[in-house]
Symmetry: C2
Subunit: 408 residues, 2 copies
């Protein structure tokens, strides 16, 4: 059987990691294509692949991914069997439509968003992606949603707890701590527009069998985690809460993100002034502008942070449950290193943790293990092959359970 060609859509920091990881696993795939609105950014990534001595066939393409016909045409032209969508969160549905029409597998790492709307009704997947379940099944393609780190790997962590630890799950607390330092006065670790949009709306958590609503930074809690130590994290809205709550309706599902006081201060000033709004304002001169897009324009490009980034991230799931009526808890986690990520693929750790998992997913699709011919969130798929593959690809999973702290 011919190896599948891979088409990466997007050319930011995560796309760079995806490209390098595909190239490192060249034997699993055919050719590697990168398509982006601005083609020169895709070319720049291909140059970094060449600099590392990778030799599989590469090509870049200009693509308006908001146009499903253009996506379909490019997939057909390239005979791409797997599309990895790591572009802006606004293009998921048009890229998925292109895949459905052209018969390619679809993998993304974050939920679809409408540029004009923030924080829609839960569960978020129900507003866009899940509406296409039947169409995906009918087309006989595989569509894997949210296969980054969080969402993605953390969903597999929950599934691992289900498969190997508990017959009843009571709570899943996902904790994301970046204890790294980029050395800038202020910067976001990924696209500021998406980053801030995560925090300006309602914080949804699934507790006691229903959606709870909080404001960002309303609920904080100190965690004591491996390697990164004691860190304050805040109840935050995040994609995976909206799919895990469907699989584990009887469990509490919460997402906690770590923030320093400085980040919170900057965020608070910007939000209180209205500068994080996705709704246009009109200047005195009559220009219509979306404030958030101006904030994005003045902030450092997240990709530019990589060379100076030091320190580590720790992301994991604290899962509580019981087996045969006996209660217990397990913390399943990964620790990643910013500097090591940069040395390997030229990206910082946040992009690294987000970019490696979709490639592991693509490999499992290529091998057939995950080629399920339907739409699936990561927790719907076998966790262990994914986590073991990730371990070999640079994102090892460790577990703290009754026997201590050890690799899975």
């Amino acid at each position: 059987m011919a190896k599948k060609n891979v088409l990466i859509i997007g050319a930011g920091g995560v796309a760079q990691v995806v490209a390098h990881k595909v190239a490192q696993s060249a034997a699993e795939f055919g050719a590697l294509h990168i398509a982006n609105r601005t083609q020169s950014k895709a070319d720049a990534i291909i140059q970094t692949l060449r600099d590392k001595g990778h030799r599989m066939p590469f090509a870049s393409h200009a693509l308006d991914a908001m146009d499903p016909a253009a996506v379909e045409a490019l997939i057909r032209q390239l005979d791409a069997g797997i599309v990895i969508n790591v572009g802006t969160a606004f293009i998921n549905m048009t890229v998925l439509e292109g895949c459905i029409r052209a018969g390619a597998a679809y993998i993304d790492t974050a939920i679809h968003e409408d540029p004009a709307r923030i924080c829609e009704t839960p569960p978020w997947y129900g507003n866009y992606e899940w509406k296409r379940r039947d169409d995906v099944a009918k087309a006989g393609i595989t569509a894997i949603l949210g296969a980054g780190f969080d969402p993605g790997v953390v969903n597999a962590y929950a599934r691992l707890a289900e498969d190997e630890y508990f017959d009843k799950i009571d709570s899943i607390d996902i904790v994301d701590i970046n204890a790294g330092s980029h050395g800038r006065w202020f910067a976001t670790n990924f696209d500021p527009e998406i980053n801030f949009r995560e925090f300006t709306g309602t914080v949804y958590s699934w507790q006691g069998g229903e959606w709870r609503e909080n404001r960002m930074f309303e609920v904080g809690r100190e965690w004591d985690l491996p390697v990164v130590g004691k860190q304050k994290a805040y109840l935050s809205g995040h994609d995976e809460v909206h799919s895990l709550s469907a699989r584990y309706p009887d469990a509490d599902v919460r997402f906690w993100m770590g923030f320093g006081d400085h980040y919170i201060n900057v965020f608070t000033v910007l939000q209180k002034l209205g500068l994080l709004s996705e709704q246009p304002v009109r200047t005195a001169e009559g220009l219509e502008v979306v404030p958030l897009k101006v904030v994005k324009a003045v902030l450092p490009d997240p990709a530019s942070l990589a060379p100076d980034y030091t320190g580590k991230t720790c992301i994991g799931d604290l899962v509580k449950g019981s087996l045969d009526g006996k209660p217990g808890e397990v913390f399943i986690y990964n620790v990643a290193d910013h500097k090591q990520a940069f040395e390997e693929v030229g990206s910082q750790g946040i992009s690294y943790t987000a970019g490696v998992p979709p490639v592991a997913a693509a490999i499992l699709v290529a091998r057939g293990t995950w080629d399920v011919k339907k739409m699936a969130n990561v927790e719907d798929l076998p966790a262990r092959p994914f986590l073991e593959l990730l371990g070999r690809m640079g994102l090892p999973t460790r577990v703290i359970d009754a026997t201590g702290d050890h690799p899975i």
Copy 2:
């Protein structure tokens, strides 16, 4: 002799005060005209005049004040003898040019600024206004620069100290404290664009016979002032330092502005992120935008603060010097009340203190006392008639000297 018609250019919070004060002194003038880029704002001010029962002839006009020919034509059409320019700081030179051509007296309250440049070489007046001295004299018109409160009244305070207290002046420290509260999370008291531009550049002070350069918030000092009590103020760049240093080259001339920690935090975040820049940035979508203009668009309209504004302002000059070799000091000041200002003219105290003085200046021009037929800063003109008139118009001057705290 026919009474002079007055043309106000601008229709913001200060213009509203100017209009009410002209109307209160209707006997001194002919008709009152208000011209603004957006005519409806001028109409709104005229409505507030009618609401207060004023009856002199009013009219509004649309005007592009960046076009000197348009300014000239309007002055001629209206037979305006006195132009009070309280529009944006970017229009001074074109309005002055219109006055020179049409033969009208010119009064403004703040220095000219080029939209694309921040904090030019000192003395600031030398970059624009003072270059037109000969043309103003040749045209035989009176042009009074910086006749607001600060600059303006504080310049007259310095002149009063010269005229009535000292034969040698060693230092002039101007202190501007707004101890009022507008009840908003954050707002600027006048046009945010002009407000922030004051603080993003170099802070110039005149000390030891030369220009000293500092950054904003680098030099702070606690003051203990009448009514408002102990307040922290910071060495700031301000117009009047640039004219007073020319008249008093042997004195140290400094300007101190009071700021709370909250204001400084918001300012610091916006500045550090680059959101106070007057240079355009390009969004990911390719739109060219000046960040500062977006910040202005999201902040409350300063005029909207008036109804809820409470508390007082204290602005004054601490002048040290000697008379016949005997050293001494005097603090000459005004205390204004936000609520009282709103009740009288529908504006908050900052607009009130800025808007009353140019009307006092206009009255003195109309009466001939200040109709000097040349360009003058306020300290070049007799101080006592101005300060006594201001006292009758709602801005009384008090003095703390060797004999205690008393009205002038």
